[in-house]
Subunit: 227 residues, 2 copies
C-alpha cells in the first residue's frame, strides 16, 4: 500500500534483483557490445538464473531502451544548462548534439540496438513508436528551447513543426555517429559542422518571400510524416 503502482508491486528484494540484472547488462554491453553479450552472460553476472532476466525485462533490447530512457531523463538539466551559455542558434543546436554524444559516448558500442527496428513505427522499441513517445517528446522539447533562445528569426508557420524536424536531424546525426569508425569520430564532427551551417543558412533564408511556397511544401511534408 505504500509504494503502490497500478500493476506491479515489487518487493525491495525484487527491485534489487532487477537493478543487478540491469547493471550487469549495461556493464557487459559496454565491454562487448550488444550482440556479443548474451542473456546468459547477463544473468550469470547478476547471479541469477536465465529466466529471471526475462521476468524483469521483456527482451534483451528492452534493457537498452530503459537505458536510453534513463539517459534522456538524466540529461535534461545538463542540456538546459549547456544551452544557457549559448546565444547563436548554430551553437545552441551544436551544444545539444554534443551533450548527447558526450552522454552516449561510453555506451556507443551498444546503442545501435536502439535503431535496430527504428523504421517499423509499430514496433514498441522504435524511436518513432507511440510507446517511446514520452522519450521522444522530451528530446524534441530540448530542441524547441534551443530554437527559442536562438538568434534566428523563424517564420511563424514553420515554428511549431521545426523542433520535430530538428529532432529527425539529430537522430540522423546520432545514427551516423554510432557507426562512425574514424578516430575520435571526426567524420561525425565534420558532418555536424557542415550540416549545421547548411541548416542555419536555410533557416535564415526561409523567411524570404520567395520561400513561402517552399515552407508550405515542407509543412505538408511534415504532416504526411507525422500522421
Amino acid at each position: 500500500m505504500t509504494t503502490s503502482q497500478l500493476k506491479p508491486r515489487p518487493t525491495p528484494r525484487a527491485e534489487d534483483t532487477r537493478r543487478r540484472i540491469y547493471e550487469s547488462a549495461l556493464k557487459l554491453f559496454r565491454e562487448k557490445g550488444f550482440e556479443p553479450t548474451t542473456m546468459r552472460d547477463i544473468a550469470g553476472r547478476a547471479g541469477v538464473a536465465l529466466g529471471a532476466a526475462y521476468y524483469y525485462f521483456s527482451s534483451k533490447e528492452a534493457i537498452v531502451l530503459e537505458f536510453y530512457q534513463e539517459m534522456q531523463e538524466s540529461s535534461h538539466d545538463a542540456i538546459l544548462e549547456a544551452l544557457s551559455g549559448e546565444k547563436k542558434l548554430k551553437d545552441r543546436i551544436r551544444v545539444v548534439l554534443e551533450k548527447r554524444f558526450e552522454l552516449l559516448a561510453p555506451n556507443r558500442k551498444f546503442c545501435d540496438a536502439l535503431f535496430r527496428h527504428a523504421p517499423d513505427t509499430h514496433d514498441p522499441l522504435s524511436p518513432f513508436s507511440v510507446e517511446t513517445r514520452p522519450i521522444r517528446e522530451r528530446a524534441i522539447e530540448h530542441l524547441r528551447v534551443a530554437l527559442e533562445g536562438g538568434d534566428v528569426k523563424v517564420p511563424a508557420d514553420l515554428k511549431p513543426q521545426l523542433p520535430f524536424l530538428l529532432w529527425l536531424y539529430q537522430m540522423a546525426m546520432i545514427l551516423f555517429w554510432l557507426y562512425d569508425r574514424s578516430p575520435r569520430q571526426e567524420r561525425t564532427q565534420k558532418l555536424v559542422e557542415k550540416s549545421l551551417g547548411l541548416l542555419v543558412s536555410l533557416l535564415r533564408m526561409s523567411g524570404l518571400p520567395l520561400m513561402k511556397p517552399v515552407r508550405k511544401t515542407v509543412l505538408e511534408l511534415v504532416e504526411t510524416l507525422a500522421v
Copy 2:
C-alpha cells in the same frame, strides 16, 4: 573449360539445386515475409537438406540480396524506357521511383531485410558497403540519366554529386514505402509528391547567386558522407 569461372565450377545439376533453393526462398518470403520464413522451410520446400541451403547461400539475407541485385539488373531497360516518355524533371524522378515500387511491390513483405544492417557500412549486405557498390552504381546511373534529360538546369559544381544525393533520397522513399501500412501505400504517394515538389523547387533555386555558399556546403557535406 566451357563455362569456366574463377572460383566455382558448378555442374548443371548444382545450378538447378541452387535455383530451386532460391525460388523456394522467394516464394516463401513473399507468402510469409522474411523473418517468419525459416531456412528449414526453404530447404524443405526445395527438397534438400538444411545444409544445402548454406552451401549455396552464405546466409538467409544473402538470398534477399541476390534478389535485389537481380531485380536491379532486370529493371534497367524498363527504367530507361519509362524515362524516355518524360520531359519534366519532376516526372522523370517520379517515374524512376514508381518503377522501383512497381517491381518491388510483390516482394514488399521481405525487402525490409535489405535495410536490416544498412547503417553499418562495413557490413557486406549494407546498401552502402563496398560489396554492394555495383548494385548501387547502377541505381545511381539511372538517376543521372533522369537528371540529364530533365528540364531543370543544374549548376555545374553540383551536377556530379547530385545523382548520389538523389539515390539517398530514393533509398529513404523506399524505406518509408516498405513500412507504410496505409491502404495502397497512399502515405508514400503523398510523401513522394510533396518531397519531389520540394526537391525540384530547391534545385531550381540552387542556381541563384545567393545559393553559391549553400551549394558549397552541400558539396562538402557529400564529400564527408562519401569518404
